[in-house]
Symmetry: C2
Subunit: 206 residues, 2 copies
Amino acid sequence: MAGDAPGCAGTHLFGDEGLIERKLSGEQVWRGRFLDVRCDTIVQRDGHTATREYIVHPGAVMVVPLLDDGRLVLERQFRYPLGRVLLEFPAGKIDPGESIQVCAERELAEETGYLASEWARACAIHNACAYSDEAIEIWFARGLRLGERRLDAGELIDVCLMTEAELDALAGRGELTDVKTLVGLQWLQKWRGGEWTLDWVAGRQP
Amino acid sequence: MAGDAPGCAGTHLFGDEGLIERKLSGEQVWRGRFLDVRCDTIVQRDGHTATREYIVHPGAVMVVPLLDDGRLVLERQFRYPLGRVLLEFPAGKIDPGESIQVCAERELAEETGYLASEWARACAIHNACAYSDEAIEIWFARGLRLGERRLDAGELIDVCLMTEAELDALAGRGELTDVKTLVGLQWLQKWRGGEWTLDWVAGRQP
């Protein structure tokens, strides 16, 4: 027993130190315009070796935009790998060197046209820990006013305004399937219920 | 305006039909032991063409295992792409031809040793809709009894027993970062609160 996970009873056969895998070698096996695919050879503490295949991702930001009337700003977008339109909170990849809050403000403005006077960071989530290093930062935005959308050519996004109750009903029926959006709803309800806290800061856009 | 998203006000510039992308051609650009990477050329309704890079994934199942004393069975596992140990509900990939419930029972038994007398499907989630077709089925298991673990060589997993309150506290501090586990917690709390429903069926294992 090498248990070193606080507050967690159970069978700690390995302990956190014993779970660690160390890189022996690695290469980029494919690079597209977007995907950067790696294959590394790793070694475990007992000398067992294996390969690990994964995507290197720049990270992303998702925004939960709260209108003054309580409604939420969402998007409908065709997700080609799934072959269907998904309902999602606005999100986008972080540009090289870009701060997370600036990315959040930029993506919200570009995709929906909304500017926000106040922002709060909720958390960061790992959405595909088995094969991607992607982390998605989840931010909240309030004090919204509608400016101008600046969709890129070929960026097809419809904007949706929904209440929390409508989104909750979709989730409870299994019809809201995007994970980041489900976690956004979870945080929204925990925050509105006074259980989880958000610290608000001023927006950086004029 | 070509709005066809029921219950969703907003700017439906495109409408669901107008959001769809159609495949023109595609190829497998890399195939490892695990990852199957594709690059397709697509066309949008206005004739705009683009490429879409994505992973073809067999799908996965995650289990929220409920002990009779109310505690939950979780795992600690090193996630190489992230370089850290994550706390997660038990999960695994679906084998070819395997039914989802059989996969859920197999993964729970192999990784934690637990067998369950009752099972319920909560939902399916899309965890990386921009670049993977992966869907994760979320199931609940109760009536647990401890059998024997059958970890594969090189499969390093520690089992953790935690209360809902402990897991909630981690999530509220941003320390529970695995998305599927966050959605499992969300479903658990909604179900225990009587807001979302689960339909239970008998386990298939003896």
